[in-house]
């Protein structure tokens, strides 16, 4: 069988497991070293998702939970490309998103923040990248909110992203922040990443030119998944 190995995950590009300023990590961080097996077929293949699985409003969070109106808040589109470490587009990547509403409240039974729910907003959406790796969804800019960590810490405005590339080894869940948010450097979850230069890669940039005039501002956010060590063309299995 032909092998399609991925670059090893560069763990210094990710937060370590134990980050005591983010208190929830303290009892949930493994202490023992990870075991490194040889990559195998289960790692370099993964579940496949097709554009036909999406509902017409899946990528429009302003309208996809409408109770008769549209979601309240600053209307934005988030768009960008899904690439791999070799700068190649990753097509058909499933991106699931979830977020708080404009007041910083999640439509979730465990969220008790005093900001009100928005009857026209669930904060759940998804999209799939095109052949050139591009993706887009429309939403409202989520609000920041307080949470019990060191007294009352505040989360910067953020959108959670869950990404499936073409292989299980590329699986990733992360959070997107917004350019210019003064809460970013104050957040213990952001700061689980020790290097501010790495944090910058989680900050969506205002893309003023790509606004929808008189409708939505645009933010640009590119996503990079793990890349393979050899070309698809040399190693691609028949029919794979």
């Amino acid at each position: 069988m032909t092998v399609h190995p991925f670059y090893r995950r560069e763990r210094n590009q990710h937060p370590p497991a134990l980050t005591p300023n983010y208190k929830s990590s303290v009892l949930r961080a493994p202490f023992r070293p990870l075991v490194s097996p040889e990559q195998a077929e289960l790692d370099w293949t993964g579940p496949a998702f097709g554009h036909d699985m999406l509902g017409p409003l899946d990528n429009d969070l302003i309208r996809n939970a409408s109770a008769g109106g549209e979601a309240l808040g600053e209307r934005i589109i988030v768009h960008g490309r899904v690439l791999d470490e070799n700068a190649r587009p990753v097509p058909n990547a499933l991106i699931e998103v979830w977020q708080a509403n404009a007041g910083g409240r999640y439509a979730h039974s465990n969220d008790t923040y005093l900001a009100p729910l928005d009857p026209n907003f669930s904060g759940c959406g998804r999209t799939i990248s095109g052949a050139d790796g591009t993706y887009v969804f429309r939403t409202i800019k989520p609000g920041p909110y307080p949470w019990p960590n060191n007294g009352s810490d505040w989360r910067p405005a953020h959108i959670h992203l869950s990404i499936f590339g073409e292989a299980f080894a590329q699986r990733l869940i992360t959070q997107l922040y917004f350019e210019g948010d003064p809460l970013i450097p104050l957040c213990p979850i952001v700061n689980t990443i020790p290097d501010p230069a790495i944090v910058e890669r989680l900050v969506a940039r205002l893309d003023f030119k790509n606004q929808m005039p008189f409708d939505c501002l645009a933010y640009r956010f590119d996503i990079v998944l793990r890349g393979r060590r050899q070309t698809y063309f040399e190693n691609r299995e028949e029919g794979a």
Binding site: R8, Q13, A17, L27, P30, V35, S36, G46, A87, R171
Partner: protein, 189 residues
Amino acid sequence: MSDGPFDGRLKETPSQTAGPYVHIGTAPQSIGRPALPNQPGPVAFEGTGAVTVEGIVYDGAGEPVRDAMIEFWGADPDGRVGRNGLFGRTTSDFRTGVYRFRTARPGPLKAGTAPYIAILIFARGINLHLATRLYFPENRAQIDADPDLRRVSPSGRASLTAVKASDGEADYRFDIHLQGENETVFFDV
């Protein structure tokens, strides 16, 4: 598309915790909202060869993790992955912490290795998802001979091996210990 040198010139997007509200985007049915069409759920396979697995993810204080999202990915009963692979996801019960999923007992993968189901764990407090494997107790000899587990201690191998369930609806029990004395083996895949 250019076919230039593969230099790994971009860096992978860094991970951030899935947080306590992961259900909204990945398992809306667990918070009383309709699942999206074709969204992966806790049942990936029914029919001959299907097995039900349940367990609890424990933290370092021995408390159940009640807000975990767990993904599973394995071969079909004939050992085929890729398009035939079986994927699903489940969540810990908010009250008991028990997670449950149903999939196929995977057929043999590579000669000399024991079949397993790849498991990923996402939760508040987990900064980068944890990867482990579920092996089956019927494959003890293959597990002990598996080259991937050569450097894993016998107790570590036990942490990766499901237990045949004796009561309830599940066929196997697979508890995961994030930290401490009985810590589950996690992989850097």
